[in-house]
C-alpha cells in the first residue's frame, strides 16, 4: 500500500545518513554562496535579507537529499536526477544573483559571452539588483514545489512493510 508523503519524508530525514547528507549539502551550498559573493566583492553588503539566502540553501540541500534517496533506491531515478540538477542550478544561479550589485564581475562576463551587449548587460544587472528578493523568492518556491513533487511521486511508488519503507516490485 502506498505510504503518505509525511511518512516518507520522515523516514528519509530521520535517517542519520540522509540527515547528515542534508547538512553536508547545505554547508556546501552555503560555502558556494560565500565564495562567489566574496569573488565579486559584494559579500560585505549583501542587500538581500540573509534568511532568504539560508532558505535557498536549505531547500536546495533538502531537494538534493531527496534526489539522492530517489536515485539510490531506484524510485523514479530520472526525476531524482532532474531535481538534483535543479537543486544545483538554483543554488548556483542564486549565488550569482546574490553577488550582483552595482558591480557584477562574475555575472557580466557570462552575459557578454552569451551574446548580450553593454546595454542589455547593464539593463539585466539593474533588473537583478532591483528584483533580487523576488528572484530569490521564486527560486525558493520552485525548490519547494520540486520537493513536494519528488516526495509525492516517490511516496506513490513505495510500500510499507513491518515499519520499513520498501520500493515496490517492478511490473515491467
Amino acid at each position: 500500500m502506498a505510504i503518505s508523503k509525511t511518512y516518507l519524508a520522515k523516514s528519509i530525514f530521520l535517517s542519520p545518513f540522509y540527515a547528515a547528507l542534508t547538512v553536508v549539502f547545505a554547508v556546501g551550498y552555503y560555502l558556494l554562496f560565500i565564495y562567489l559573493m566574496g569573488l565579486s566583492g559584494n559579500i560585505l553588503f549583501v542587500k538581500l535579507p540573509w534568511y532568504l539566502i539560508y532558505a535557498l540553501v536549505v531547500t536546495s540541500a533538502v531537494l538534493l537529499t531527496i534526489a539522492v534517496y530517489s536515485i539510490k533506491n531506484s524510485i523514479m531515478p530520472y526525476v531524482g536526477a532532474s531535481t538534483g540538477a535543479w537543486s544545483a542550478v538554483s543554488a548556483s544561479v542564486g549565488s550569482l544573483f546574490a553577488s550582483c550589485g552595482c558591480t557584477a564581475p562574475l555575472l557580466a562576463p557570462l552575459l557578454y559571452d552569451i551574446g548580450l551587449n553593454t546595454i542589455a548587460v547593464s539593463s539585466f544587472m539593474s533588473a537583478v539588483s532591483s528584483y533580487q528578493s523576488y528572484i530569490f523568492a521564486a527560486l525558493i518556491l520552485l525548490n519547494l514545489f520540486f520537493i513536494y513533487y519528488s516526495i509525492s511521486s516517490a511516496s506513490r511508488k513505495c510500500v510499507i512493510n513491518r515499519g520499513k519503507v520498501l520500493v515496490p516490485i517492478k511490473t515491467k
Binding site: M1, A2, I34, L36, G38, L39, S40, G41, I43, L44, F45, V46, K47, W50, M76, Y78, V79, A81, S82, T83, G84, A85, W86, A88, V89, S90, S92, V93, L96, G101, C102, T103, A104, P105, L106, A108, P109, L110, Y112, D113, N117, T118, I119, V121, S122, S123, M125, S126, S129, S130, F146, Y149, S153, R156, K157, V159, P168, I169, T171
Partner: protein, 370 residues
C-alpha cells in the same frame, strides 16, 4: 488471490495514478537537464575558464591586462561640459542626520582647506602606499584586471572617463581614490560632499558636481583641469534615499545625446562599443579600462558578512583628515588604489607627468603591464 497477485494489483493501481504525472515528470527532466547544463557552464566560467572575468583580486596584485582590439579610438575636438554650481531642486542639507540615513552637507562644496587635501596631497603618500601595495602589506583589497582599450582623445589629450551612479556603494568608495589620482595630473577647482544611497551604505563620498539626488537624471561634467588629460564624468542619479539603481545605458545615452556635446556623446558611444561594462564605477584611464569596481576599502577593519561598514560611520571631515595624514589601512588603501590609476595614466601619456617618476609608480606599471 495469492499475496503475490495482490501486490502486483496494488502496484498496477499505483502506476495508473502516477501516469497522470508523466507530463510533469518529463517537464522535470527537461528542466533538470537544462539546469544541469547551465549550472556546469556557470561554474566553468566562475572558475575562471573565461578570461574576461575580472573578479576583485584579494591578494593585492592586479591580474594581467586583456585587450579590446576591435574598437577604434577617437580623436575629436569638442568643449567639455561645465556643470552648474548648485541645483535648486537638490539643495545643500545642513541639518545633522543619523548615520545610515544622513544627507548632512550633501552637495556642499569642499572648502579651500578640504580641497587642498585632495589637490596637494604629498607624493610621498603615493609612494608609501605604492610600496605597501607592491609588498602586499595592505589588508584591504585593491586592484582588478584592466583591459587595454584604444584611446579616447579630446582636444589632443587622452581622457579619463567615469561612468557611475550616486546611489552606488563602490562608486562612493572609489571616488576618493579617483580624486587623489587625478590630482597628480591637474587640480579640482570644485568638489562636492555626497553620499551613496541609503540602501547602499550611506557612505560619505565626493561628487564631481552637485548631484540630482532627488530624481533620476544624468549629471555630466566636473571642475577638473589638467594639461595632460581630460576628465569626462557621467554620473547617473536616482533618489538617494532608495537603493542602488542605474538607468539603462540606452536611456543615459539618449539624455547625453540631447545635450549635443560631442565629447560626451562620443564617450557614451565609446563605452557601448567596448562591451566591457561590468558595473559601476566603470572607468577608462587613458589606454586602460577598469570594467567595474576595483577596490574593497570601507574602513580600517574588514567587517564580516552582513555587518555594517566602518566607512558608513565616518564623516567627510574624518575621511579627509585620514587622507591628510594617512596612518591607517583605510587611507593607505585609498592612496594605493589611486596609485593604480596613476600608473594607468602614466602608461598612457608616456610618463610625461612628474608623478610618473615615483619608483612605486614605475614598478606598478611594470608589474601590472601598463
Amino acid at each position: 488471490m495469492s499475496e503475490r497477485e495482490n501486490e502486483l494489483k496494488e502496484v498496477k493501481k499505483l502506476e495508473a495514478v502516477s501516469s497522470s504525472n508523466k507530463i510533469l515528470t518529463y517537464a522535470a527532466i527537461v528542466i533538470g537537464v537544462a539546469a544541469l547544463v547551465s549550472s556546469l557552464v556557470s561554474i566553468a566560467y566562475v572558475l575562471n575558464f573565461s578570461s574576461r572575468i575580472s573578479a576583485l583580486n584579494y591578494t593585492t596584485h592586479a591580474p594581467a591586462t586583456t585587450t579590446v582590439a576591435s574598437v577604434s579610438g577617437y580623436n575629436i575636438n569638442s568643449p567639455l561640459i561645465t556643470p552648474p554650481l548648485s541645483l535648486a531642486a537638490d539643495p545643500i542639507i545642513s541639518q545633522q542626520q543619523p548615520f545610515g540615513s544622513r544627507l548632512t552637507n550633501i552637495n556642499a562644496p569642499l572648502n579651500s582647506t578640504e580641497l587642498a587635501i585632495i589637490n596637494n596631497a604629498s607624493d610621498s603618500y603615493f609612494e608609501t602606499a605604492g610600496e605597501m601595495y607592491l609588498s602586499s602589506k595592505l589588508n584591504n583589497s585593491v586592484g582588478a584586471s584592466a583591459t587595454k582599450v584604444p584611446m579616447f582623445v579630446v582636444n589632443g589629450k587622452p581622457s579619463v572617463i567615469y561612468l557611475g551612479s550616486i546611489t552606488c556603494i563602490f562608486c562612493g568608495e572609489n571616488r576618493w581614490a579617483m580624486a587623489l589620482a587625478l590630482s597628480r595630473f591637474g587640480n579640482f577647482t570644485e568638489l562636492f560632499k555626497g553620499y551613496s544611497s541609503f540602501g547602499d551604505g550611506d557612505l560619505p563620498t565626493l561628487y564631481w558636481a552637485p548631484a540630482h539626488y532627488n530624481q533620476s537624471s544624468i549629471d555630466l561634467g566636473n571642475f577638473y583641469n589638467s594639461k595632460y588629460i581630460n576628465f569626462i564624468t557621467l554620473e547617473d542619479t536616482d533618489p538617494i534615499t532608495g537603493g542602488f539603481n542605474l538607468q539603462p545605458l540606452n536611456i543615459i545615452q539618449q539624455e547625453i545625446n540631447s545635450t549635443g556635446n560631442l565629447a560626451y556623446m562620443d564617450a557614451i558611444k565609446f563605452i557601448l562599443q567596448l562591451n566591457t561594462f561590468q558595473g559601476t564605477p566603470y572607468t577608462i584611464w587613458g589606454a586602460y579600462n577598469v570594467g567595474g569596481a576595483d577596490a574593497v576599502d570601507f574602513g580600517n577593519s574588514t567587517p564580516i558578512n552582513g555587518q555594517s561598514l566602518p566607512l558608513t560611520y565616518m564623516t567627510h571631515e574624518q575621511v579627509l583628515s585620514q587622507l591628510a595624514h594617512p596612518n591607517d589601512q583605510f587611507a593607505w588603501t585609498e592612496y594605493a588604489a589611486a596609485d593604480l590609476y596613476v600608473a594607468m595614466i602614466c602608461g598612457s601619456i608616456n610618463n610625461t607627468a612628474p608623478v610618473c617618476s615615483l619608483p612605486a609608480i614605475k614598478q606598478i606599471e611594470v608589474s601590472n603591464g601598463y
